[in-house]
Amino acid sequence: MTDLTSLGVREIRDGVANGAFSAVEVAEAFNAAVAAAAQLNAFIVTTPDHALEAAKKVDADRAAGKELGKMAGVPIGMKDLFATKHVQTTAASHILEGFKPEYESTVSQKLWDAGAGMLGKLNLDQFAMGSSNETSYFGDVANPWRRNDGGNAKLAPGGSSGGSSAAVAARIAPAATGTDTGGSIRQPAAFTGISGIKPTYGRCSRWGIVAFASSLDQAGPMARSVEDCAIMLEAMAGFDPKDSTSLELDVPAWAESLNADLKGKRVGIPREYRMDGTDEEILKSWDDGIAWLKDAGAEVVDISLPHTKYALPAYYIVAPAEASSNLARYDGVRYGLRDLPEKAGLQDMYAATRAAGFGDEVKRRILIGTYVLSAGFYDAYYTQAMKVRTLIQRDFEAAWEKCDFVLAPTTPTAAFPLGDKLDDPLAMYLNDVFSVPASLAGLPAMSVPAGLNKDGLPLGLQIVGPAFDEQAVLNAGLAIEQRAGFTAKPEKWW
């Protein structure tokens, strides 16, 4: 019998549906793989019972001849930013340690309704702030990939969805949820040789997802194929009246409509993305990507996104500003940590609780955010950043006159060793230089594996499409996937 953990979403779903194996067998196989992979530290808590119960229900439904959901029998990892009812939800922070929500996030509920089960809550950067999964209160996540130099240096799995990327790359989950604020799905996907898509802002409900930066946060799937991403995104997306920014649109049949024939399509190559300091191998893989898309029938056009350079600094004003306010609710009154020094008053309790409960990166961003919103600085920083955001949006609007989607690298480098950039916040922020513009403009964007670099580490290519056109992004991703022939997987060391 095939090793069930080598299978992806569609293979599992179809195998369960046609009786090749049972959902319970699948759940047990992944539960075992998860239990054996503790060294990766991909999960904060595991929930084997949840996976098993969901599988039993799917098997029973199948036996009863009921119609099965899009994700029936597929056990997945859930980023620990999604509230899961009665299952600890921490955002990888100490301040939420032990918090068990009395509610289920819309996206996770949709996945359970579609027949998926939960293997556990995946580690991440604390409050999704970070690009290496080193800011988690529950420890670093190790990238399952290692350099081919014989060294055992642990590498970053990317962030913030680093537990998700590591789990999917290590085959301990066929797929996982991620969230992307400035690149948190795409960058870890690139670092671990998997696929991930951030849909148009508003496609997936934000209800029940611990907020980082409300105007940027979007959930999306991470899996090992474009098709698996499409299937899972269909299960996650959809209008939610509980989220004011939720798009009131039907969910298209993305998976069924996948088409790698790009004849008549134009791919835009933004010249501003050829930045100084970008890894030569990254540039080379970009050229490969251009050639593959040409081969798939697309016409290549040179485009300009003139404000690209300003996207990252604008992001590092807007995201911390929103975060400083979104994270004000963690105050030790209604849930989570309370640190009450002797004789402390209410305000002292807040300051002590938040000092003890937040990690350094979270504090750093709260302080920056507090500063840029404070009296006298608001216009110079926040308003200016929101104006630049308008310009970035306009850049893309102009680009869509000339092309149907954009191709660019996902990241400026391959995965780096844990600890490498920890002392230099700015160097860490630069990881998101290619992913942030699409986030600021709310556009659908995806990373797919393009190959390995000379160190044997995966590199990703990014496709950005116009708002609402996830199909264009998925189709281009599929065309690359078919030509890149990326079959490499990390050698098991955990």
Partner: protein, 499 residues
């Protein structure tokens, strides 16, 4: 101009007052969650996950709250902003679970408007005065802290958290406690007419933040102001101003300066004091709430709001004095409260219909009945009265009988008394209790003839020119008729018979 002055040691001072009134919007559910707004529930029983600011919770605005705020804006003839936006006001407090209040700073829903407070010589408002209103914005209410239930802890109840408020901000156009009192009363009346706030100040449905500064008479620059928070009755608003203005004058005259600060009113002492908990200078870091898109209203929505507006207090008063011919006093009294005019108008319609005359012909009779006769009877009866018995039909029936001369004013009161106690039909009461006037000329003539026969001397005097004796004959006749004769008929017959 009001002539309210504070006599200081260094001269005369005047006071400048602006009010920020927080009015709870009448709605079933909260502004951003579907938890109930009902008053008086068990602690934290009406709290949603959203109100408690659980991680990942999001706000979705309640259309009714927006509609009521727009209607209120229209009622004060204010600019309605078709494009507005919610902002976050960030600060930390135990009654504020999110760590921010969703409010509107930069782009409020309602812009410039005004209301007119009515002249009232008695309290020093010589003429009608327009008070400008700067804006009305919509925001969330905070929760409640209980300080005296535990020795070392305060208790937090979030039932009020997220209830919709309108913050109605006046210009500093008021110059005396009386004007401020009149403003709050007028505003309350408008809100209640519109139905956008129940105006129940005891339950906290309306609270005022009172901004007060003082300056020497003749100065044009404004002095430093203080803001006294959450004053919850008209009387307290006036007391807070009186105290605060006097305090400021005292401070300045003692060589001190006024600090711009937040103060608290103590209803027990009628004084204000600095609020310790709000001492540190706030930097609210307002910014647009990224969970909410801009609020855009279309013409259909605005048209619906406008079409649903009732006749407002000023217009109603003008109609009462103009069309209905009521006195200024009656018109003002009848239009002050929603319940009063509603009862009056129902009774007026029923009475006019019963008598078969236009409303204006019976309006004064109904007004007098509503404002003095009926309340007098009710008050005299005290606990014996069951107001529920006093339906419009029953009262109209009494007024009808009175207008037709079937009963006297005194009988009307007696019948109403029985109605209030027993809920019986007035016509039936008049019949069975003998509470009817006799208009039958035969019986009255008989009585008059007897009186004339028995008082020949008085008749002589009267006929000799002593007109005043007419009253004597009326009295004698009424007495003989046991008070039940129709006075008009008595008068007429006496005149005929006495010659």
């Amino acid at each position: 101009m009001s002539n309210y002055r504070i006599q200081g040691a260094t001269g005369e001072w005047e006071v400048v007052i602006g009010l920020e009134v927080h009015a709870q919007v009448t709605s079933k559910a909260k502004l951003f969650s579907s938890a109930s707004t009902e008053f008086g529930a068990e602690p934290n029983a009406q709290v949603s996950l959203i109100d408690a600011a659980m991680p990942g919770m999001l706000p979705v605005p309640n259309r009714e709250c927006i509609r009521q705020a727009v209607r209120t804006g229209m009622a004060i003839e204010a600019q309605i902003n078709k494009w507005s936006r919610f902002d976050r006001k960030n600060y930390f407090y135990a009654d504020l679970p999110q760590g921010y209040q969703i409010s509107q700073l930069y782009h409020p829903l309602v812009g410039e408007g005004a209301l007119t407070i009515d002249a009232d010589e008695k309290v020093g408002i010589p003429e009608d005065k327009v008070i400008r209103i700067e804006r009305i914005h919509v925001e969330q209410d905070a929760g409640k802290l209980m300080h005296d239930q535990h020795p070392t802890m305060s208790y937090v109840d979030l039932n009020r958290t997220g209830v919709a408020l309108m913050e109605i901000v006046s210009r500093p156009d008021m110059t005396s406690p009386a004007e401020a009192g009149a403003y709050v009363r007028k505003l309350r009346s408008i809100l209640r007419y519109v139905g956008s706030c129940d105006g129940n100040m005891e339950e906290g449905s309306m609270r005022a933040d009172v901004n007060v500064s003082v300056r020497k008479v003749g100065d044009t620059e404004l002095g430093t102001r203080t803001e006294t928070k959450n004053v919850n009755s008209v009387r307290f608003v006036m007391q807070a101003i009186e105290h605060e203005a006097q305090r400021q004058v005292d401070v300045i005259e003692d060589g001190g300066t006024i600090v711009q600060e937040t103060r608290l009113f103590d209803p027990n002492t009628g004084t204000t004091r600095s609020m310790r908990s709000k001492e540190d200078a706030h930097d609210y870091r307002y910014f647009p709430d990224p969970d909410l898109l801009p609020l855009e209203l279309d013409d259909a929505f605005l048209e619906d709001c406008r079409a649903s507006l009732p006749e407002l207090p000023d217009a109603k008063r003008a109609r009462y004095t103009g069309e209905l011919g009521l006195s200024d006093y009656n018109a003002r009294e009848l239009t002050a409260e929603v319940e009063t005019f509603a009862r009056f108008e129902t009774l007026l319609a029923a009475t006019a219909k019963g008598i078969g005359k236009p409303e204006k012909d019976v309006a004064t009779q109904v007004a007098n009945w509503s404002l003095s006769v009926a309340p007098g009877v009710i008050k005299a009866l005290g606990d014996e009265a069951d107001i529920a018995h006093a339906t419009a039909e029953r009262q109209a029936s009494i007024l009808d009988m009175q207008a037709k001369g079937e009963i006297s004013g005194g009988q009307a009161k007696e019948i109403f008394e029985i109605v209030l106690k027993e809920g019986r039909d007035p016509a039936e009461i008049a019949d069975t209790e003998g509470l009817k006037q006799v208009s039958d000329t035969g019986a009255i003539e008989e009585a008059i003839d007897t009186i004339i026969a028995n008082n020949a001397d008085k008749v002589e005097e009267y006929r000799g020119g002593k007109d005043k004796l007419f009253g004597f004959f009326v009295g004698q006749t009424m007495k003989a008729m046991q008070g039940k004769a129709n006075p008009a008929v008595v008068n007429q017959l006496l005149k005929e018979k006495l010659g």
